[in-house]
């Protein structure tokens, strides 16, 4: 089975764990990172759209300032809710076109990077399940099996 060639150069994420970006709404300006517990998230007084892998979770907003840990807990709760209601991989605006190869690859990478980062911190790896569900939905099983073998052998072309 031909697997996609490694994309080069693999970009390492800005920090070891994936950043969950708060975007789209002009009122949300902070980037909340699970790996940066000292970050402070401000949720201005309006509906604030949180984008995770293309899905939008709306957090009803009042003017609240949360500490990094509380924000991370809220985010983890949001992800758990999304995982409970998961049907299939939602539309991801990073990959709007017909070619979804990169979508599969990126979610596979993100899951394993997330797991590695959470394990390094000793944190709960449950939020990483989102990436797992998405790549399971999109990636052919044979590709996943091959990549898992490469990782065990140490010949996996991606940067985890």
């Amino acid at each position: 089975m031909e697997v996609p060639p490694p994309f080069s150069p693999s970009r390492s994420p800005p920090n070891p764990s994936p950043a969950l970006s708060v975007g789209r709404s002009t009122l949300c300006t902070s980037v909340i990172s699970l790996a940066a517990p000292r970050a402070v998230a401000s949720l201005p007084a309006a509906l604030c759209a949180v984008r995770l892998g293309g899905s939008v979770v709306r957090a009803a907003a009042v003017k609240v300032t949360l500490t990094g840990t509380a924000a991370a807990a809220a985010m983890a709760e949001d992800i758990r809710t999304k995982l409970e209601h998961y049907k299939t991989a939602p539309f991801d605006s990073r990959f709007p076109n017909q070619n979804q190869t990169r979508n599969c690859w990126q979610n596979y990478l993100d899951f394993h990077r997330c797991e590695k980062a959470m394990a390094a911190k000793g944190a709960d790896a449950t939020p990483c399940q989102w990436y797992y569900r998405v790549y399971k939905s999109i990636c052919p099983t044979s590709w996943v099996t091959t990549w898992d073998e490469y990782r065990e052998e140490g010949t996996f072309p991606g940067k985890i």
């Binding site: 089975m1 031909e2 697997v3 996609p4 060639p5 998961y86 049907k87 299939t88 991989a89 939602p90 539309f91 709007p96 076109n97 017909q98 070619n99 979804q100 190869t101 979508n103 599969c104 569900r133 399971k136 939905s137 999109i138 990636c139 052919p140 099983t141 044979s142």
Partner: protein, 227 residues
């Protein structure tokens, strides 16, 4: 499926196919009008009824520039509208993976459990009475009707193409690449297609069958598959 000596499209069973059929009818009328005009002018020319002023013909030149431009716009607008409509991805309810091999398809439903099966053509010698030659398969794709379905198409070895004419879907299966398409079936039924990219000796013998059923039957089928 197509009937014997059928010239037209199969009955549209998805909104996109309905649009394509309408556009085809519209484009055919435009083509008929142009052909009629050309035939008429040709007849006049052969009967030497058309004068030919080779020096001053600005009016007719204006007409035969503007009119074709209008005709092209009349063709391009609905065409582009449908093209963009085909690329709209509503939030799908289900993701189905179709992997082409020489010479069969593998289908995977991995949103929840790892459901996977191969789909081989039923040989004519094993075909039950009344079934369709070279179109039936041993395991059909079952999907819930009236639900947006995302299909991810790829291939394991050489180029194939996953096509179901009644749903207006045809997408190449390319090794190392995941091509996404989507459709909604407007009614329950069984829809047939055939591999649409030459892939070797048995290219004609790896059909596709999509069975669209109400959701509860789909759930029953998937429970059966996973057990």
């Amino acid at each position: 499926m197509a009937n014997h000596s059928q010239l037209g499209f199969q009955d549209a069973s998805s909104p996109i196919m309905e649009e394509l059929v309408e556009f085809h009818d519209h484009a055919l009328m435009v083509a008929l009008a142009i052909c009629s005009l050309v035939l008429y002018l040709l007849t006049l020319t052969l009967m030497e009824k058309l004068s030919s002023n080779t020096v001053d013909a600005q009016e007719v030149e204006l007409i035969w520039t503007i009119l074709p431009a209008i005709v092209l716009v009349l063709l391009a607008l609905p065409s582009l509208q449908i093209l963009y409509m085909m690329d709209e991805i509503d939030e799908p309810d289900l993701t189905l993976k179709a992997i082409g091999h020489q010479w069969y398809w593998t289908y995977e439903y991995t949103d929840f459990k790892d459901l996977s099966f191969d789909s081989y053509m039923t040989p004519t010698t094993d075909l039950p009475l009344g079934h369709f030659r070279l179109l039936e398969v041993d395991h059909r794709i079952v999907i819930p009707m009236e639900s947006p379905i995302r299909v991810i198409i790829t291939a394991d070895d050489v180029l194939h193409s996953w096509a179901v004419p009644a749903l207006g879907v045809k997408t190449d299966a390319i090794p190392g690449r995941l091509n996404q398409t989507s459709f909604i079936t407007t009614r329950p039924g069984v829809f047939y297609g055939q591999c649409s990219e030459i892939c070797g000796a048995n290219h004609s013998y790896m059909p596709i069958v999509v069975e669209s059923t109400p959701l509860k039957h789909f759930e029953a089928w998937s429970s059966l598959l996973s057990s």
